[in-house]
């Protein structure tokens, strides 16, 4: 019997599972803190508060200063979680009887390359997105029919990260009737679901997954399917090419071992004809991509009247073509040498490099598509009768009203008609402070409603909204971005020209010295042996290996062009909010008055602020942990602060001027500190205890800890640093001062569209500009820059526009990306050097008439293998920067085995 969702109700009580490495954390003090504390104001102090670095029982991340405690069982101590989400999932796993297996498997193997940037934290599901899964339109567009009554679909699954997740998600068929098969692709966070739409609704599956902290999101973009298809086609081509090359090589061994017309004429002819039969499909099918690209580049170069435009595929196609034709003629006439083995191995090796390159880009491409699936496409429409119905965004007309509950994203541009709340516009404007909204205020799609439900009159939807226009613009710009000429391509034009002139020279010289047939022989040898296999592999291999290693370090390089461009940059433009700073309000600094314990004073202040809905209050409470006391009296004055009686003390917290008016005169150090905070762009908050000034603290968007070090590293690398932010100029100037950026390079109050103009102005000066930012407000600038780098853990739509994105929090990956790409380019140059040395030697030998098929069969693979080894042994993105490349043998080994196995 299969159990359905409703049957999973508590089979066992939420138990504390015995787990290795996740033992219940000793917590001093017992019972439920919050309820015990609130009743009667009895002060319940924790003797020793939980260390903030204690790992969360569910996700293993530090619990932080305000842990959520689970229920204690009997004598055991309560379990500590980092957030309510983790606790809910832990209890749901226990209730369903999955806990023990889940936590055991999770310890076994964790994937570090999974797309999910949440660590082990559960993802939050959106009820509207689940509702979308059940619509006719979704079933029609995004599912395919398989078998009698079954349909198959693919969903993005946020929150999957380890072996235990695979196990849990793939239990779906056992848990929900109507699900026939569930297959999870962990690195790409993609769930392939086969289900019976008659028996089960997708939203039911989504709700089951949501219980365990996985958010199923509809996959809106179809390019992922196209990319998979392209990858498969190339892989089949690769397999066929190697199979043919292997057999041709086998027959060639017979020739090298002495088989010729004198030894056994029939056998020699037979072997040649079989080789020809095998080589023709290898060239026609395996080599087709090279001929196609070579032809395109010849036409381009012809139109531009510039032979330097010739692509690296042109000499490759020339060598393959001439070699094959000559060998075929030799087979038919029975005269001359055949080069089939060298040619077929060449094709297979080049295809392998291309495939590795394609494969190394897949994660970066998937990540930006996953973001598009986060944008809301369903809305809650308020009908004329006042009812709320869930509808598709595209069914909505101007003038209609939608409801936006707290915690959801505003789906449209419009005006508030009912409700008062606060919005977080960080994604749009970069402003981290919540903005209060009242009826009549304009709101924009993409903002998050923080507090209370709102009714919004629709003015624009979809691509007509500001965020929609920006995203559309990004997509339109895609083709317009200047094509970067890769290092190897710059060489290839000259390379093709020199090979052709050398061939002409050889033909003339040998025609004079010997018969024309001998000359032809040597020209073919020259074209085959200089066929730039190693040059063709030099860039893609080095770049593919680097991209794979970078991805493990949380750095996703979307293209080779971006990798190369990053090393050529001379200017970095940084956004402030969320890039240099953490993007949220925190307690930055506290200055106590003489003889006052700052922590104790802030603890009392936090008690008062605990119930206040204001970002500054929230920051204060977050800094001091969840208060265990409650205020005896409480009084708030709008826009000024709060006062009350806590633990026998009269506490006043708020604007310094307001607080000092109710206390003794503030001592000089405190007023000086307030002055300093204001200059630094922070909001000063004063605390007075029993009529005496106790402390002042600065609340603000704190700089990331690693920002100064990273900026110094970038400057040391010769980059000019600019600041460009939508924030108030004073705040930007303050940050610039702290970081030592000259005032003339710090620009505040820059609107998103103006950022792009500022970048283009810099580019007009001839600079190669890297833009680092996050949020939709930076999207236009990221795209306009030579390289756009998106930071911030990878959850904003800016990733779509970026060329490089960093999923590890902090700025350290930025410095690593600059250093790593510089080393990668070094490897590319080294590879090109090796190839050129080989080619010069090969050309000289061929012109002297020393190259036979046997020489080519040995020399060509050796040169390619040198390039392969040089690429794999690179140390561009070491897994542990302090440890060189020692931690990376796994990838190197898998690349070699792929090459060897095919």
């Amino acid at each position: 019997m299969n159990r359905t969702v409703d049957d999973i109700a508590p089979m066992a009580p939420p138990a504390s599972f015995p787990m290795e490495g996740h033992e219940a954390v000793p917590v001093v003090g017992e019972g439920d803190r919050s309820s015990g504390a609130r009743s009667g104001g009895a002060a319940l102090h924790l003797d020793a508060p939980l260390a903030p670095e204690t790992p969360c029982v569910h996700c293993g991340l530090p619990v932080g200063p305000r842990p959520v405690l689970g229920a204690a069982e009997g004598d055991s101590l309560p379990l500590a979680f980092c957030c309510t989400g983790c606790r809910v999932v832990y209890e749901a796993l226990g209730a369903a009887g999955f806990g023990e297996t889940y936590y055991r498997l999770r310890g076994v193997a964790a994937s570090t390359r999974a797309l999910s940037s949440l660590g082990g934290r559960p993802a939050e599901s959106d009820a509207l997105q689940l509702a979308e899964l059940d619509t006719e339109a979704f079933l029609g567009q995004h599912t395919t029919e398989v078998g009698e009554s079954l349909r198959r679909t693919q969903l993005f699954l946020d929150g999957v990260h380890c072996a235990a997740c695979v196990w849990l998600v793939e239990r779906l068929p056992f848990e929900i009737d109507g699900v026939a098969e569930a297959v999870l692709d962990l690195p790409r966070a993609r769930l392939t679901l086969t289900f019976d739409p008659e028996e089960v609704q997708l939203s039911e599956v989504g709700r089951w997954l949501a219980r365990f902290g996985y958010a199923a999101r509809p996959m809106r973009v179809q390019t992922a399917g196209r990319r998979t298809e392209a990858e498969r086609t190339l892989l089949v081509r690769l397999g066929v090419a190697w199979a043919l090359a292997g057999n041709v090589m086998l027959l060639a061994f017979a020739f090298y071992a002495g088989l010729d017309a004198d030894a056994d004429a029939t056998m020699a002819t037979f072997a040649r004809w079989v080789s020809l039969a095998l080589a023709v499909p290898a060239v026609a099918y395996g080599g087709a991509p090279f001929f196609r690209r070579a032809w395109a580049s010849v036409r381009l170069a012809w139109r531009a009247r510039d032979p330097r435009r010739l692509h690296i595929d042109t000499p490759i196609a020339l060598g393959i073509g001439v070699g094959t034709l000559h060998s075929a003629w030799a087979t038919v006439t029975g005269q001359g040498e055949v080069w089939f083995d060298s040619i077929t191995v060449l094709i297979a090796a080049l295809l392998t490099a291309r495939w590795l390159q394609l494969r190394s880009r897949r994660l970066a491409g998937d990540a930006s598509e996953r973001l598009l699936s986060l944008l809301p496409s369903m809305v809650r429409r308020v009908s004329a009768t006042g009812e709320t119905v869930v509808a598709r965004l595209d069914e909505l007309a101007r003038g209609e009203t939608v409801e936006v509950p707290a915690g959801e994203v505003v789906p449209v541009d419009g005006a508030v008609t009912r409700g008062t709340s606060q919005l977080n516009n960080a994604v749009l404007t970069g402003e981290s402070r919540p903005v209060p909204v009242v009826p009549g205020d304009a709101v924009e799609a993409g903002a998050t409603n923080l507090r209370a439900p709102l009714h919004v009159r629709v003015e624009a939807t979809g691509t007509a909204t500001r965020v929609g226009r920006l995203l559309k613009w990004v997509r339109d710009e895609e083709g317009r971005k200047a094509r970067v000429v890769l290092l190897a391509d710059r060489l290839s034009g000259y390379f093709a020209l020199s090979v052709l002139s050398l061939a002409a020279l050889t033909a003339v010289a040998w025609s004079l010295l010997a018969a024309p047939s001998v000359a032809a022989q040597h020209v073919v040898a020259l074209l085959v042996i200089t066929c730039p296999c190693a040059i063709g592999m030099a860039t893609p291999l080095a770049m593919a290996v680097a991209a794979g290693r970078a991805a493990r370090r949380g750095i996703f390089l979307k293209s080779d062009a971006a990798t190369q461009r990053l090393t050529e940059a001379d200017t970095v433009v940084l956004d402030k909010t969320g890039t240099l700073t953490e993007g949220r309000m925190t307690l930055v600094e506290t200055v106590p008055a003489d003889g006052v314990d700052a922590d104790a004073a802030l603890d009392l202040a936090a008690v008062l602020e605990a119930d206040v809905v204001h970002p500054i209050a929230t920051a204060l409470v977050a800094a001091r942990g969840c208060p265990v006391q409650s205020a005896a009296t409480f009084e708030a004055e709008a826009g000024q602060g709060v006062r009350g009686l806590v633990d026998g003390h009269a506490v006043v917290v708020g604007k310094p001027s307001w607080v000092w008016a109710q206390s003794a005169r503030a001592p000089a150090p405190l007023t000086a500190a307030i002055e300093r905070f204001a200059q630094a762009g922070h909001t000063p908050v004063a605390v007075a205890l029993d009529g005496q000034p106790a402390a002042v603290c600065a609340i603000g968007d704190r700089l990331r800890d690693d920002a100064p070090a990273v900026l110094r590293a970038l400057e040391a690398a010769g980059l000019t640093i600019h600041l460009c932010s939508g924030d108030h100029p004073a705040a930007v100037a303050a940050v610039a001062r702290t970081l030592g950026i000259p005032a003339e390079r710090a620009h505040g109050g820059v609107a998103p569209e103006a950022k792009r103009a500022a970048l283009e102005a810099l580019q007009a000066e001839g600079r190669v500009v890297v833009m680092v930012g996050d949020g939709v407000n930076d999207a236009a600038a990221l795209r306009a820059a030579d390289v756009g780098v998106a930071v911030g853990g990878g959850s904003t739509a800016s990733l779509v526009a970026a060329d490089v994105f960093l999923t590890r929090p902090g700025l350290a990956p930025l410095a690593e990306a600059f250093a790593g790409t510089a080393r990668t380019l070094g490897v590319v140059r080294r590879n090109l050097g090796i190839s050129l040395v080989y080619n010069v030697g090969g050309a000289a030998a061929a012109m002297l008439g020393l190259v036979t098929p046997l020489v080519a069969a040995v020399a060509m693979p050796v040169s390619s293998l040198l390039v392969v080894a040089s690429s794999i042994l690179q140390r561009s993105f070491p897994s542990d920067p302090g440890n060189g490349g020692a931690g990376e043998p796994a990838h190197a080994a898998s690349s070699t085995s792929r090459l060897a196995a095919s």
């Binding site: 023990e100 498997l105 962990l186 998979t228 990858e231 498969r232 199979a243 056994d264």
Partner: protein, 74 residues
């Protein structure tokens, strides 16, 4: 040496069969994700069928001492 005229075509046929098998494997998506299957083998035998009902290996009902445990397949 005459046997080679038979063996070489035979070898080519075998190679052709291998290529066809490879093509089928690629088309059916077996190379799309090469990382998850490595994890999947860790969780074999986590579920089992007992009396037609699927259970987890850590299910209370099949713990030693419970009546179902005696019927647990080895």
């Amino acid at each position: 040496m005459a046997v080679l005229y038979v063996l070489i075509p035979l070898a080519l046929l075998l190679a052709g069969a291998g290529v066809l098998a490879f093509r089928w494997a690629v088309r059916s998506g077996q190379f799309d994700d090469v990382e998850t299957p490595a994890l999947r083998m860790l969780m074999d035998n986590e579920d089992m069928l007992i009396d037609g009902e699927r259970m987890l290996i850590n299910d209370e009902r099949i713990r030693p001492g419970n009546d179902l445990a005696s019927r647990r397949p080895s």
